[in-house]
Amino acid sequence: MSKPKMFEKPAGVRDFLPEAAERLRHIERRVMECMGRWGYREIMTPTLEYYDTVGMASSTSDARLFKLLDKRGITLVLRSELTAPIARVVSSLLKNEPLPLRLSYSANVFRAMEDEAGRDAEFYQTGVELVGDASAEADAEIIALAIASLEAAGIGSFKIALGHVGFLNGLLQETLAADPEAQSALKECLLKRDHVGYRETISSLPISEASKRELEDLLRLRGGRDVCEQAASSALGGEVREALDHLCRIWDALCDYGVSQHVIIDLTLIGDFSYYTGMIFEGYAEELGFPVCNGGRYDNLLAQFGRPAPATGFALKTNRILEVVGHRPLERPRRVLIRYAVSRRAEALRHAAELRRREGYAVETRPIPDVRADAEGGAPSETQRDLLSDARYDEIITFTDIEENGR
């Protein structure tokens, strides 16, 4: 490859100019404040982690981790999400803190993407982890907080799809107990969102027509609490029933939060089976083709760091949210320019300081160029005229030379 031009940057990363940065930070701030009101405290973890610890434990596939070597040749990764780093902290620095722990974060994360796909390699997540509570109440709290966060971020119309990995796991285990290969083939199809392949695989299996129908009907299981009841009415036991009961308990709690109108139970929602252990959910905004948040329960992760504990959480994709709410008018500070003759600098700066102490002001100061050195007084110079008509400022205050004004 030829040497990049001076203005170029690597594929998949972007600059946020003041307008975009202001909006992104605004979303993050609103969401973090919301999380704070729910008792979640912010935590910051490093951008770099060891590949063998956090990298391996992370839900991000190996191919999508950015890897680099430190001076000793040990493999590091750029964090691809915050859940595994937080699990590391909870199991080490916070290992004597009593559970449950409520932690929040807002950070940039990195995923290596295929160049031609045109997808971001660095993006922004704001999220929470609730560690040490295995109850349906904890899952409901996480979903309700996700909903409150989406509202705080300014998204008007959205939906949360809620599923449970235990349902599919149990269903496949019961119908195809002797055929783990077929089980993983079917999971693979669902993970790839390939319903055609899913149905083809089912029809090729040596199982009863009733079982086939049951597996196919999975693709239509979505709605409210009735979906769980409907699914539970089939004569399945064990893991399936447990998953459905758990979803019903979450649903009831969400009703008491008063947010169930945003939620649809969707038993076709699939997450990474090696990572998620219970409920999983995704959030969608009306105007955007990509999910704006996702989350779920991951009870096995903390054990990998030596402090076994149940945990549940979610992350908002704030740069996606920016796409949805980015066109809305933002509450802006009043931009003021104070120009001053050097002889009145002290007075001008005092005035600037006073405005800056007030809420909602952005104040710039600038000396007036010496007119006498310009064109013999008379008309204002070119640069001055530009300044006076500058649309960037809501107000321009001028402290002119006392002598010249004859004051």
Binding site: K159, R193, V196, D266, F290
Partner: protein, 212 residues
């Protein structure tokens, strides 16, 4: 709230068959839309808006959500590798993806394969443990073995007419291809009722048994 569905339709070969299937299912899609230069066709009585797209672009429109659903060949879907739901096998535009060569083909020391589907072809040969150089061409693939650019080609075969005319034979069939109904990840949940209704209307009119 009525759920208006935006449907990305592939221009060209597949359009006629796809629009016939939609009409069979009672959805009033014009059959001559392909000839007109209109890019967006409104069919308000069916609650749909059709976007006329180049076939390879259909998965992209759907992944980004500018179309809720789309009709696209399995060949394009496998080559483009986009994150979309594959909901229905529409059973139309049946053909197959094959490895093709001259009749006297023998394994060569440094195999080269020319194709319009480089990522699909390279995945196929890697999975078979074969080491080949994949050359991407944009058309007239049959030319490659005739003039010695590649010893084999990977291409779609519908009737086999073009192959016969150029004195080529199919060495192996890789997989069969039909058109699929695909859906955006978000639309699939946000507009699920409309999408499910579309699937249910199309389903009874899909012919599955028809094989070449």
């Amino acid at each position: 709230m009525t759920q208006m569905l935006k449907v990305a339709m592939p221009k060209g070969r597949i359009y006629r068959q796809a629009s016939r299937l939609f009409r069979d299912a009672g959805l009033p899609v014009p059959d001559d839309a392909d000839d007109s230069r209109k890019l967006i066709i409104e069919v308000p009585e069916a609650g749909m808006q059709f976007i006329m797209a180049k076939p390879v672009d259909v998965p992209t429109y759907v992944e980004y959500g500018v179309a809720d659903v789309g009709v696209v060949g399995k060949d394009v879907l496998m080559e483009e590798n986009r994150d979309v739901y594959e909901l229905l096998d529409l059973g139309i535009a049946r053909c197959r993806m094959s490895v093709i060569a001259l009749p006297d083909w023998k394994p060569v020391l440094y195999p080269r394969v020319a194709t319009k589907y480089p990522s699909l072809a390279s995945r196929y040969f890697r999975a078979k443990g074969q080491q080949v150089e994949v050359i991407r061409l944009n058309g007239s693939i049959e030319l490659a073995p005739l003039i010695g650019l590649a010893d084999r080609i990977v291409d779609m075969v519908e009737t086999g007419q073009t192959l016969r005319e150029n004195g080529l034979v199919e060495l192996e069939t890789m997989f069969s291809i039909t058109s699929r109904l695909i859906a955006n990840r978000v639309s699939y949940r946000m507009k699920n009722e409309a999408i499910q209704a579309l699937c249910d209307r199309l389903q009874p009119h899909i012919r599955t048994e028809e094989r070449e």
